[in-house]
């Protein structure tokens, strides 16, 4: 992870596909949990990386080297989500995209999780996904979601508690 900003600063075009390989799945599946929709998550994930590439083209070396890549990508993704894709960049070329979006994670019932997440508030859902699916720290989440860290911690706490309750109810 730590060598990635250096590689991006050295040769953006050569190293950018590696960024998509490393972060693409986490960004896509995080968005998928937030929006509970394959096509929306796919569009947002694709657009996030395209915007990221264009931004990196304009950044100077020191700015790229100092970048916290994953929170930065999530900032772009959530901004795009907020704008509801209204301000989409020109993306005129379409590949044949899969209907299901690749294989689901194996060891858990993905759809059951979609159902549980849908019972959380939007802020709780985003905070829990960013903390425990994407693996960001609470300070990073506070920055990415533009909310106070204390609020973020409370959202995570309440979100997890709600998920626990929902799972217990399912077992009865």
């Amino acid at each position: 992870m730590s060598d990635l900003p250096i590689a991006l600063a050295d040769d953006l075009d050569a190293s950018f596909p590696g960024l998509v390989d490393r972060m693409g799945a986490r960004i896509y599946w995080g968005l998928r949990r937030m929006y509970n929709n394959h096509h929306e998550a796919e569009d947002l994930a694709q657009e996030t990386f395209i915007r990221a590439y264009r931004a990196l083209c304009d950044y100077d070396r020191s700015r790229i080297e100092d970048l916290d890549v994953e929170p930065w990508l999530w900032t772009i993704a959530l901004n795009l989500g907020r704008n509801n894709l209204r301000n989409r960049a020109r993306r005129p070329i379409y590949v044949e995209l899969g209907e299901t979006g690749g294989s689901e994670p194996e060891i858990v019932d993905s759809r059951a999780w979609d159902r549980r997440f849908s019972r959380l508030t939007k802020n709780q859902r985003n905070a829990v996904v960013l903390r425990h699916v994407a693996g960001l720290g609470t300070a990073e989440i506070a920055e990415v979601t533009r909310r106070p860290e204390g609020t973020v911690k409370a959202d995570i706490h309440r979100g997890l508690a709600r998920l626990r309750t929902l799972m217990e109810e399912e077992e009865v």
């Binding site: 390989d21 590949v95 995209l97 993905s110 829990v128």
Partner: protein, 251 residues
């Protein structure tokens, strides 16, 4: 198993096509798709800048593309707004409203290709004429090599540019026989062009109007046969009292 560790495993694989979509959208790769042409099926490649190449639909194509353009290549559909324009540009032999990515050529070559795009369907112009039109009359050879490197043959009609002696000459997209076929498809008889060249007919004048043209200019083609005079050069035409057609600007 705690709920937190469950959540960590909610990440599956990257969806198919996402990495490719990003590469295409970022301009790091081109998409390619099959299109119909007068020469049969051809590959057309495109990226965020426009259509980047047209090539023969053979198996060596992806290798040729990567070798020449240095970008990755993915099967994809062209933007909906371009799709119809690609088919009509190939059939008409002119770009029209279709954006063309000419980053692979020099500014001089771009200017030459832009002028070549304006040669009307069913007509031809010699390399020397193109050199003259871009205000580089000495650059006839450079014009010839520009035609050979035209990244978008069929759409930019380099098949309508012939040797300065009037012979049809070489063609980059699969050889001279394809050039003959394209010209015939546009209603020009290749045999007639070769006959004119062998008889050293470079321009033709109209006795009634006093105007001389390239032999394929629609203006001279509409003239009555008995009024048309064969001439060996623009200089000979001028010496004979003819003035140059403003439409085809013969040299």
């Amino acid at each position: 198993m705690s709920i937190e560790s469950h959540l960590q495993h909610l990440v599956g694989e990257l969806p198919d096509g996402l990495a490719e979509g990003v590469a295409l959208g970022a301009g790091l790769a081109d998409g390619y798709d099959l299109y119909e042409s007068p020469l049969g099926k051809v590959w057309v490649t495109f990226n965020v800048e426009g259509v980047s190449s047209v090539d023969l639909a053979d198996e060596a194509f992806p290798e040729r593309f990567i070798e020449r353009f240095g970008r990755a290549l993915f099967r994809a559909e062209a933007p909906t707004a371009w799709e119809r324009h690609i088919s009509s540009a190939i059939e008409a032999g002119k770009p029209g409203k279709l954006p063309i990515d000419l980053r692979s050529v020099t500014p001089f070559q771009e200017e030459v290709l832009r002028v070549a795009s304006g040669i009307p369907r069913g007509e031809v112009r010699p390399y020397a004429w193109l050199a003259h039109e871009v205000a580089r009359p000495g650059a006839v050879r450079a014009v010839g090599s520009t035609m050979a490197r035209n990244p978008v043959p069929l759409i930019i009609p380099c098949h309508r540019v012939v040797r300065s002696d009037g012979r049809i000459g070489a063609y980059s997209l699969g050889g001279a026989h394809n050039k003959h076929e394209l010209l015939a498809h546009e209603g020009l008889e290749p045999e007639w062009l070769e006959t004119l060249a062998s008889r050293h007919v470079r321009v033709q004048g109209n006795k009634t109007t006093g105007i001389f043209c390239h032999p394929t200019c629609h203006r001279i083609r509409r003239s009555k046969t008995e009024n048309v005079v064969d001439l060996s050069s623009a200089a000979a035409a001028r010496a004979g009292g003819f003035r140059a057609c403003e439409v085809c600007r013969p040299v």
